[in-house]
Amino acid sequence: MISATDLRLTFGKGTPLENPALRGMSLTVNQGEFVTVIGSNGAGKSTFLNALAGEVIVDSGTIVVDNLNVTKLPTHKRADRVARVFQDPLAGTCEGLSIEENLSLAIKRGQRRGLSTAVKKQYMDQFRESLSSLNLGLENRLGDKMGLLSGGQRQAVSLLMASLTPSAILLLDEHTAALDPKTGAFVLALTTKIIEEQKLTALMVTHSMKQALEVGSRTVMLHQGQVVFDIAGKDREGLEVKDLLELFEKQRGLSVDDDSLLLS
């Protein structure tokens, strides 16, 4: 379980470019929930994810992951609890390292690394099994450099890497946005499959309202660094994009002027 309470963060404090990214953001995600997060540009989605991952440290508020207060911990000290897939398909893997080396890095996420050989024989069966579930033929290319793979393949491997060891939460940062629609759909299907099979707790940021309603068990909308609405269960069933927009306008007395939210 993770709970973020009253997170506040301002970029460029005391400068003309002062930008309050999080203004009292609170959200609790329970074990096994798959939450989709939407919001227009500048709503604080990415900042919120970065705050949970530890890439930015919030000015105030607390973040608790599985009963540990991680608010001030740097990324690598909370990596045992927080797994992550980036938006940029090239960001989640090392292109100069082989597929098996990347997977071997991920299998030790958040654990002590010693001087024993990194790519161990006993990992290979697990690697081959999970890679073959992708149906990309990668299980026969363990020694290939990551850079030889396409963006979609690399994103699929990033997803595998994030789910190779247990985590308290899996953060997905618009991880299908940089892919073509077909590959994006493939990676999204893979995401839901992995999350369901392994009963993961996940938080997925997306730019598409349609996607936010189609997958997951709960949808949260952010606006100006706060949660504007949070729907799950019966309320969420059968909901369409236009209902979401109405809900948003009713809540805020605002109209959504970000075309990308409507169009995607």
Partner: protein
Amino acid sequence: MLSDIALYGAIETGLIYGLVAFAIYLSFRVLDFPDLTVDGSFPLGAAVAAVLIIDGWDPWLATGCAVLAGMAAGAVTAILNVKLKILNLLASILTMIALYSVNLRVMGRPNIALLGEDTVLTPWYSLDLPYHQVPVLLFVIVIFASLILLWRFMKSETGLAMRATGANPRMARAQGIATGAMIILGVAVSNGLVGLAGALFAQSQGAADVTMGVGVIVIGLASLIGGEAVITPSTVVRALIACVVGAIIYRLAIAFALNADFLGLQAQDLNLITAVLVTLAIVLPGIRSSVVGKLTRKKA
């Protein structure tokens, strides 16, 4: 042509600079950390080893201390970068400048002669080998051992974490790798190798000098880049072998250039030749491919 002594001399120095090339591979290539500390840690290694040998220490123990001194210098550079957030290149220049004073302090004077002292080479001269081949034999053993150790390290969990730190720091952090600690460790090990090279260089040349580090970084880079041009560094072990091969080729090229009387070059032209060779090593692969491209392109 080269005399036997000049040939073995070139290989001997090449093997020592092979250690420097390992160090530069580790900082520039693996960690993506342009580290100029080596110009200071090379004479530091020489100074520490020379002072301790003069003081009557066992030469191997003195060499070990030179390695530790080099590691400390590297750690200072990395800490300036990681903890104090100083740009990596500038951090290394600061350490390099500071080391000039430190080296003078360590030696107490600008140079120390090791003539007549027991060095790591002394016991090896009792072997039934020509005098000029002895250092080559010992340094081949040293560089082979270093290569194996480095290769095993790069393949270890920590080594892999270090490679990820240089290649993709954001991904490395997300995997729970303390990237700052990896940079400190890597730059320290790198300069430890340079300290070793400096200590061996002083013992084989019979003196330590405060100016002996000038341009070591460029020689190391020349070896690294030259080696990569000859042996494609597609794996760690190939990259390490490329370092040694590049360093020896570089020293042979210098020896030939200085020995070719028709060129009219003299010892004082060494740094100029080095700069020209590095430039050629960087530029030539590009020119070659563009020339090949022009020659083979059938359709415009």
